[in-house]
Subunit: 304 residues, 4 copies
């Protein structure tokens, strides 16, 4: 067996020396306040062992990583009916998200771009009894940690400035692909994005996708059929316009968020999370991407 | 001189026989209630004589025709500073209005498409003391008719269902091209679109654009420089994705609205308005377009 | 009557002082050799009087201005059947010419963009007995000048480097909108673009569009119906992505070419040609545009 | 161990009953002649065992599957320099391939779309001594079968009708992203696509991508680093606009061709090829896709 702790330490040391590492997300005022120097990496094998280096116990806003949780919950609830309102293809072009929605009659390309996640939020709003409570409980259950919660300040901050999400939501509404009021859907969506988790918690939560639908306490939450499909979507759509690049350089299904977090996994083997707030031009954590490239280069453990 | 009354009568008789004439706009519930059989044509020469046939005294919702009034008012107030926030080029492609906004960083193509008119509404909101009052008074002054008013029912109807306009407004906001709150801008915009006028009133109001900036009572409202530019924009951008077709088949600057109205003019000669609610696929009054084609074919009086 | 010679002289003097005036077209090697300092303006009233200043007797490559001649000839031959293979709407977006062709199934937006003019060339190739001879004779007839000819060096130069036109032609062919071989169509097209004319000749040739279809020797070449439509297309589509701007600032139907020439006209009044090789970013002669803005500002003679 | 022969037989029996199965590609006349009823599936484990059912010994035109061979060869020759002229992101939108090329300055999205494969062909033409011979020998070497060859009739057939590829190639040339003449590049490209192989040969050839760069005779052709990246590109870009769907439903890196062939593989485990000429609307073999869905459903052996 490889010496994972040593590998994580090596990566940490290498990355700590990197000077140009992008910029912290500025468009959500609360996120702009993050210390750019945080760096954490947490690994958990499917066998249960964990390895950790750096700031893996400091919670951060998981942002778009939450889209995997909401997809999982909606898929659990609705099964394949989900795909009437949303696709599974990569979005391709950074310059025409609105245009794609227009051309494709309000059916978002996939559940991991904003418009797709807004449709998922609408579905959860329609199908969960107490949407916010039920959703946070689902995340807590996956993680086995009841301290996980929304960050109201961040949710509010995004609500005040998230004009682009309002534009997408109203466009979806104009095509009849939102059942609920835009304000209600976005309130749920901004809360979902505001969830605070640390690297260790994220790693634990994603074990369900690496372990055939079973969480860290071995409870079955999702069928293998669904887990495989969620992983496929993460691989082809999980990194905005850099999904191909991530598959190419890292070779794992995963998801990033503008809070600087990334989670990735090798089915049947491991889950790994990284956190470093500065983002590259595509909106993914600069050092997080590097960390995962180094990890799969050193271990040769990828899906390819 | 040509016998204009005879020409209008002939056109009216011809058009009354047309059976397939498109469909009344359905997306605004209040507009869907219009009687599709209304047909009116009103002509006014620059010399003051008027000719009329059909339903020219029944007020209807002028909708997008109001964009010419708001453009005129904003141009009057701001001069060429206007063109920092808005272009003067035709929009071209019906399938990518949102995409154009995205690609062109939130600068709408021209003031006669919805996104452009929303920017103009934002400008008026910032520069008029009592925006709605001042604006309706401007229209009344051009028309010399104090009975002209907003239709609150239509404004409210559009507010409840105008998701596409909300999407455009939030996209503009996300690019920093709206100063005021989206709700306030759209409240003004929906009111402006709801103005009720009949063919005779519309014709009178547009005399200002045919008569070098002077209204029917000969008061100077706009410089010749500005009037020429407003006419140019009407010609290249006044009929959505059918602007080229209108220039080609009719050959006059003009503007249509989904309420079924069209106004067009030959500078220094005449203004003509038509009203027939059913629309063609491009959203312009089917019989109105035909009426204007017949009129310019018979009189040979066009700008070309 | 206005003192036109004085006005032309004033404009010439003003423009000669302009320093930053864009760059000569470089993509056709032969054109890159032009002296950037040439400047000529030639005006002809419908009554026959002519006024001239600067280099109005030096022939230059008319390039895209030839598209108006080929459109006129094809319209003369085919009538409205033409519009089955080509539209009359402005193209709008500089970034997606190929995409528009793709989305609109190989039907070019209008006859004055390259893809449209290539379809027109295909039509002429199918319908003229001796295509190149018949076409040059048509231009000579309009101009009453038998010295006008193709420039084989320029035609060849463009043939060797006109990859973009090859791409457009093959895309048209893939949609079944070219009857002839791509090589034959482009050979005709590159020859048509290579025609050499000076400002005086261009002005004379375009009298047919200002004088209800009659050329300078009063022969009827085109019906008024057709002339009006050609003028409408020039106005809405004659200046690439700057058509709205030209209508806005100048207010005349016209056509530009990358050789630095521009022709414009006021129906029933006059034709005016300018030549200055350096182009603005949109591909239109920088000083030519300025000259026409100044001319219509000073004379107030525009279609608006 | 699973009974693979039994699984293949079951799939074969199931698929033979399917009636509506799409249409054979018609745009290449030679391909249109294929018998739509052919169906073959061939599986090879990394351990060397093979399993076969149906028409697995009849050669067919591999078409786009050849793009994986040309990518492998070019990557072998050039290493990461390749990525200066070509991307690794999915193309996303079926409606704007030309537009993407335009917007992205002639850099194709990835090596498995036509424009990307044309750039690869250009690179091979520049770097191979005897391009066609060297390339076919590379494929023969991977397969250990010297009978594999080009089909000149198919290559010629495509050359005569492949206008869309000419359009793409000239567009690339206009952006300076082709070094060689368009005719030469496309001659190579059409030959590469015309290669005839059967399911068994394709399976054998692709072992190199499943076996860490070693072919069936254990010779090392590519580094693990390169093999992983080629697999990643196959997964994200191998099925035109259905790449996400294939990842979602099948979960393997793979590549399809309009000749009706598909090859897919699970690294370290197996390679599987299918052949059935009728295509679905996205251009992928209808029954081939079904066969692979069934295979991974029954075996649960996917990368996810």
């Amino acid at each position: 067996m490889q010496d994972y702790q040593h590998i994580l330490n090596e990566i940490y040391t290498t990355l700590k020396k990197v000077k140009t590492k992008g910029e912290v997300a500025r468009y959500i005022p609360e996120l702009a306040k993050m210390n750019p120097d945080h760096l954490g990496i947490h690994l958990r094998l499917i066998t249960g062992e964990s390895f950790s280096t750096g700031d893996t116990n400091i919670p951060f806003s998981i942002q778009s990583i939450s889209k995997v949780f909401s997809l999982a919950k909606a898929f659990q609830l609705m099964g394949n009916k989900l795909w009437k309102r949303i696709g599974v293809e990569p979005s391709g072009n950074p310059f025409n998200h609105m245009s794609l929605l227009e051309q494709e009659n309000g059916i978002p390309r996939n559940p991991l771009i904003n418009s797709g996640a807004i449709v998922i939020a609408d579905i959860l709003l329609s199908h969960l009894k107490n949407p916010k409570d039920d959703f946070i409980n689902f995340v807590r259950e996956l993680t086995h940690d009841d301290t996980i919660d929304f960050n109201e300040t961040i949710a509010l901050s995004e609500k005040r400035t998230g004009y682009n999400n309002y534009a997408a939501a109203y466009l979806l509404k104009s095509f009849g692909n939102l059942e609920n009021d835009v304000e209600d859907v976005l309130d749920f969506y901004f809360h979902q994005c505001s969830i605070m988790m640390n690297c260790a918690q994220l790693t634990n939560a994603f074990v369900v996708f690496a372990n055939r639908g079973r969480c860290i306490h071995n409870k079955k939450h999702l069928s293998l059929h669904k887990v495989k499909r969620i992983n496929a979507i993460m691989l082809t759509c999980g990194f905005y316009d850099e999904a191909g690049e991530f598959a190419f350089e890292v070779g794992l299904p995963g998801k990033s968020g503008v809070g600087g977090g990334i989670v990735a996994l090798l089915p049947h083997y491991y889950v790994i999370s990284t956190w470093s707030p500065p983002l590259n031009k595509k909106g993914n954590s600069y050092l997080g991407m590097k960390a995962l490239e180094l990890f799969t280069e050193k271990t040769e453990l990828t899906i390819f």
